[in-house]
Amino acid sequence: MLYDPSLWGALGRTFLFLVTVIPIQIALGLIIALLLHKPGLSGFRLLARLSLVIPLATAPAVVGLIGRLIFNRDFGVANAVLALVGGGPIEWLGDTTNAFIAVALMDIWQWTPFCALVLLAGLTMVPTEVEEAARLETKSRWQIVRYVQMPFLLPSITVILILRTADILKMFDTVFTMTRGGPGAATELVSVYIQRVGFRVFDQGVASAQAILLLILTIVLARLYVKYVYREI
């Protein structure tokens, strides 16, 4: 099992997916959180915050189905939007690189709101007096984020890093309904790969061995979560 290149391929793809998706989600999530945290326009802020619930509530299986519709080559809305700005129709789900990007985009849609809400919770921990004092000191938005808010955001970022990693190791439904891991093995993340070996190729011994490997990764993640996130009990 350890010398099986297709397993390492799946793990490598999962890692690539992680390092592509999580930084984007944290960056976008931070922008959203800052916009939601900024005083004023409370009605629109509430509307935007409530709308973030929609991606989170959508069943991952349905997210994959929506992705398949949006990224269809012929009648998908993604290509229609590209055509507006003069881009040619892109073969999204039939091309290895583009299919990977399309799945990543759907994951970004679904999970950026989670990052935004966790970061927003961090932002609300900053004492208002401190934030106001900082506003009087400097006009630079970036300096306030970097020196005043960042210390309060670090625990949130730790939570996001660990939980998103665990979720991407788990990720099955979205990929299965959107691409089934294809074309070829281009979007076959580790859970989808093990499912194929175990339930479609029916090589149960190998699939179990691979599952144990995944279990070890999980335990490491859980230990990190306890160490850095939970200090009580």
């Binding site: 802020r45 935007a48 709308s51 509530a57 229609a80 009087l136 439904d173 859980a222 306890v226 939970y230």
Partner: protein
């Protein structure tokens, strides 16, 4: 407070235009968030209300006369109705069991000190991190041996193992917030441990219990992997039904999206109810 009012006075004194400009950007940003979050959902609902020809039109049609034919057809011709009923049976039973078994466990974790408490706690976290695929094979083999494939009960049992930790996490936190003095007072009045739990602690922890119940329901309602592996026809759940249209060349997009909408809508309602606690549930109480 003095600082804040001084600041606002300065802002009032400054020309009004820059402030309005800042507000305009803020507004644009908030509307962009709204569009980003809602658009794919809107597109799904819109497609579910189109005819097949409209759904396959290229470039996509934005203005059309909505009709409910797809819903009629999936509910009564495609047997999505029975899979929705299966999903309701499974999600409700799981939720009731998870809350029934999870709240006493949470109470014990919040109130008592006992051996290996930390290990138990750790096990609950591992459960949140665990990839379902890791235990899918053993569970499949056990279910086959016990002749439980394609039954409601096997999915209820599997989802229970994933939902119990969520209930325990959220409720332990709630029970910790219930003052111990109340327990002591009731004990002096002669109440048993169970009475204290049932009559005093549980009612006071109701908000947390409700939130964890909704999370448990949403998880069981949305789950695809186990439903796919463990059911065939009789106990098929709605997400499996939605993916079953995906075979063949000419996909019925309107019907697929109608099924998707039927799956997602109730969850959105529930999620809006707990929107304040969404993050708490997703991070097992680490972030409130």
């Amino acid at each position: 407070m003095a600082v804040a009012s001084a600041d606002s006075r300065v802002r009032e004194a400054a020309p009004a235009k820059p402030k309005r400009l800042v507000n305009a950007w803020h507004l644009v940003g908030l509307l962009a968030i709204f569009l980003f979050a809602v658009f794919p959902f809107y597109w799904m609902v819109a497609t579910s209300l189109k005819t097949q020809a409209e759904a396959l039109a290229s470039p996509p049609i934005w203005v059309f006369s909505p009709n409910l034919d797809n819903y009629y057809s999936v509910l009564f011709n495609r047997d999505v109705l029975s899979s929705l009923i299966n999903s309701i049976i499974i999600a409700v039973s799981t939720t009731v069991l998870a809350v029934g078994l999870g709240t006493p466990a949470a109470y014990a974790l919040a109130r008592f000190e006992f051996k290996s408490k930390e290990d138990l706690w750790f096990w609950f976290i591992t459960n949140r991190m665990l990839s379902p695929i890791v235990v899918a094979l053993p569970i499949f083999i056990m279910a086959r041996t016990l002749n439980l494939i394609d039954t409601h009960i096997v999915l209820v049992l599997v989802y229970l193992t994933f939902n119990l930790p969520i209930v325990v996490w959220i409720c332990t936190d709630q029970f910790r917030g219930v003052p111990r003095d109340l327990d002591e007072a009731a004990r002096l009045a002669g109440a048993s441990r169970f009475t204290i739990f049932w009559r005093i602690a549980l009612p006071l922890a109701m908000p947390g219990v409700a939130v964890s119940a909704i999370f448990s329901f949403i998880f069981s309602w949305n789950e695809l992997l186990y439903a796919l592996v463990l059911t065939r026809n009789v106990a098929r759940t709605a997400p499996v039904a939605a993916t079953s249209f995906m075979s063949g060349y000419d996909l019925p997009w309107g019907e697929i999206m109608a099924t998707g909408t039927l799956i997602v809508l109730p969850v959105i309602v529930f999620a809006l109810i707990v929107s304040k606690h969404l993050v708490q549930g997703l991070t097992m109480g680490a972030v409130k």
